[in-house]
Assembly symmetry: C2
Homo-oligomer: 509 residues x 2
């Protein structure tokens, strides 16, 4: 009997986050839910920071309502979310009772599996949220952010797994957000966890596809004993996204492993999302192939386009090469944090500042906080000179305790502020929405009544439309970053009444 390999489907969260700037509307997910629910997935990932943000920022959707709908539409399937530990779905540390409340409410609204990570792999930032998940009786998945540096060894990751299990995690996830996990370390880390922590410890592996090697890494992880792997249905896979679900199933045929998914439903899902994808053409990632330079620069694809856009805004689009060389240096100075939200943005932006204004002439507030320990501990020593600069610039002291210990209880204050907002419905869910996105939530509360917006467009309206997924290269400011797309105006020779005019036009919206 082949061993069953479980699969987490990413199409409702990370896949469209990675490929179409998190813009997929609930309306476009609903028709897929019956097949998703019946295909045999271990879990369906459907909620996380960016989807929550996108719901209230772009789609006028209540993310809690989205969650409740998933619960109804996927009655047989574990719903899974990605939780940024003490940051929840926001970009700062929250005080412990807010963490507790968020986890409770997510569980109450239908969440089953909480994949909890911290960008710095600092366990102190994970402890509270993992404990909160355990109290709800839901599945707490402790997450290791995989990264590559002169300091990180497979042994370090195995040790982190041990500590996560000591915190009571139900499973371990190796999270490779930048497609850096090569086959051999994938094998070594999974093997190490199984040998050190016990064969019965569930190991999940999450990889992106960007570098073209990680399908092989999944195979080696499975050979080493991994229990569950993350994939996305093929029509929303590859590029900066993930490996295709159907290929995973086929890959295992004849091996001692088997993914028991319903192939006919997978093909239906593939076709369905192949039809959805072109509707979001203007948001599609411009990375369509493979990028192995990431192995040297350590810079994930999403971060790259962010930095390009920042440079262009400052009229310095030609200085990208310098920034690419600066990022690993800044990362080293910061003690080799993994590069994942929010550390990727913090390190990337500081690298841009260094190139534009001279190294550490100006520190961003976030980078200063990172250097001073306000995000937590890093594996490596942080550069003393830069720490000093950060202290001088901000007037703050370096800390070495758990950052959230500095926070005072804030629930009542947050609640009062939220309840004062027009359109707030007074629920804890609304308070949490406000707590996490205090700048975006107020407007959302006032527009919520108008109902969801679907930003997808009939592909027939676009110049080149076809059944196959259309992937035109987008202008760099048309992708991600929470910014709307800028349609490039095109100049045509137009013959009108026998006379030729040079006319610059944009497609009719």
């Amino acid at each position: 009997m082949p061993k069953t390999i479980d699969v987490t489907e990413l199409v409702l969260r990370d896949a469209h986050q990675s490929l179409m700037a998190t813009r997929m509307a609930m309306e476009d997910m609903i028709p897929a839910c019956a097949d998703l629910d019946q295909a045999g997935y271990w879990s369906v990932e459907c909620w996380g920071g960016a989807t929550f943000d996108s719901c209230i920022r772009f789609l006028n959707e209540d993310p809690w309502e989205r969650l409740r709908q998933f619960r109804k539409l996927l009655p047989n399937t574990r719903l899974q979310m990605l939780l940024r530990g003490q940051n929840l779905l926001g970009y700062r540390h929250y005080e412990d009772t807010v963490v507790d409340r968020f986890v409770e409410k997510a569980a109450e609204n239908g969440m089953d599996v909480f994949r909890v990570f911290d960008a710095l792999n600092d366990l102190r930032n994970l402890r509270r949220s993992i404990a909160a998940v355990r109290r709800t009786g839901k599945h707490a998945q402790g997450t290791i952010c995989y990264t590559v540096s002169p300091l990180h060894t497979p042994g370090d990751f195995v040790e982190m797994a041990e500590k996560l299990l000591e915190l009571g995690c139900d499973s371990i996830c190796i999270k490779d957000m930048a497609a850096l996990l090569k086959p051999q370390p994938a094998y070594d880390i999974v093997k190490g966890i199984k040998e050190t922590c016990g064969q019965s410890v569930r190991v999940h592996v999450h990889v992106h596809a960007t570098t073209g090697v990680t399908m092989v890494s999944l195979m080696k992880a499975i050979e080493a004993g991994a229990d569950c792997v993350d994939t996305a249905i093929s029509s929303l896979s590859l590029g900066p996204g993930h490996n295709p679900t159907e290929s995973l199933v086929e890959m295992l045929e004849g091996t001692p492993f088997e993914a028991r998914l319903d192939k006919a439903r997978l093909i239906r899902l593939k076709k369905y999302f192949a039809g959805i994808r072109p509707r979001y053409q203007e948001f599609l990632s411009n990375i369509t192939g493979v990028e192995t330079e990431i192995f040297d620069s350590q810079i994930p694809g999403g971060m790259l386009s962010n930095m390009e856009s920042q440079l262009k805004q400052q009229g310095a689009g030609d200085r990208m090469e310098e920034v690419l060389l600066e990022v690993p240096r800044v990362r080293a100075d910061a003690g080799f944090p993994p590069l994942v939200t929010p550390s990727s943005q913090i390190v990337g932006t500081q690298a841009v500042f260094n190139v534009m204004m001279g190294r550490y002439k100006v520190l961003t507030g976030e980078f200063a906080d990172l250097m001073l320990g306000y995000y937590g501990e890093t594996i490596g020593q942080r550069d003393r000179n830069v720490v000093e600069l950060a202290a001088k610039q901000t007037g703050k002291h370096p800390i070495d305790g758990r950052p959230a210990d500095l926070l005072k209880p804030e629930w009542h204050e947050l609640r009062n502020a939220a309840l004062a907002l027009p359109g707030c419905n007074g629920s804890d869910e609304d308070v949490l929405t406000f707590a996490m996105f205090p700048k975006v939530a107020p407007k959302f509360f006032t527009t919520r009544e108008q109902g969801p917006k679907n930003l997808g467009k009939d592909p027939a309206a676009a110049p080149v439309a076809a059944a196959a997924p259309a992937k035109p290269a987008m202008p760099e400011n048309g992708n991600g970053n929470g910014k709307g797309p800028v349609r490039t105006p095109v100049t045509y020779d137009v013959k009108l009444d026998g006379k030729t005019h040079k006319v610059t036009v944009a497609p009719v919206q």
Copy 2:
């Protein structure tokens, strides 16, 4: 010391054949040759049936001259070609002395490695060309066309390898033209060959990427002892093409294997071809993702688009599903041939005929020949009733001998016919060009003097241009098949002098 894994680079032949309808002009290859020559490849594949055909049909390039140029531009690298055994680069069997002559001339003009295959895996169709290669002292690579059927077992392929070695082949290639080779059979076949034929027998593995599993198959083949694998530089990889070269190099890091290629040169090559690719936008394949349905239908991607186009021409674009079900049936009736040029076209076209006109109401001449044994032997019994029909329709008898034994010496006749053509330069090379493409060569001889045509176009002329490879979905008649693209006209609202007009335009060429 890790074992060195050799790499064959496909970018100059199969990559652009699979991704851009074989249209790349020599002019666009020349600037890459220095890096290709120095990167450390075991060989560079650069010649074959489709490139030869495309040279004279579309590019007004002398394919022999292209070969001589490669020889000069790649002085340190083995040049490799794909040879269709007794078919050479054409679509019929040639008489033995023509085979000898072709191989001699190819070797004389600079070819080093002859990868020789037969669409039916019939060794009798390979014997003569392999012997001819051996006489030139060049590398004869005996090729197994990988396919999946109820009859084919790993043992069959191992047995074929043994027989190819008995013919004096210098190495064995497992050729998976449809991306059907899964990891486990890849491992089993390579292992079987090494164990049965000896560890020192060189095994090369050629896979396409279409199904998303074959990067893993390469890994398993390497673990089983494969010596050399085929890849394409990433900017011309994936989809119906191949796995990316840079990813192969990275994938092996830390394993007991190593591909010693110069990464800096690979990145340069990647960037160079990323710039070339958008120039051929109108020829780009519309398959950009992964297609696992191939595992069930057995129909390779290129064949699929051919059949779609045939159906559309007959106003039956909606009957594709029926054809997809018919192909495996026709293939079974024909004794389970692998589906590769020309058997893929023969089986595919007959399936279209069956759906359009009733099963076997009309047989194509080629399908009748296939059923009657005029292409050689198949692994399975051919259906008796259909064989009878074929005999009745064509007035031919079934044969079971080597098809080429029926051919009379034809060199002098071919030579006289070629020499009578205006523009023929009287060389054996020209005679061979005529022999292989008797319908296309005459026109080519008359236009040759005008020099090569480059069908690539400045991507700035297209509406959406960017540094990243642009892959817009093309209308289905804009891809392959020797047909030009049809640019879809688009209607815009254009404001001109304050007045809005509905204007239909096409981009300026």
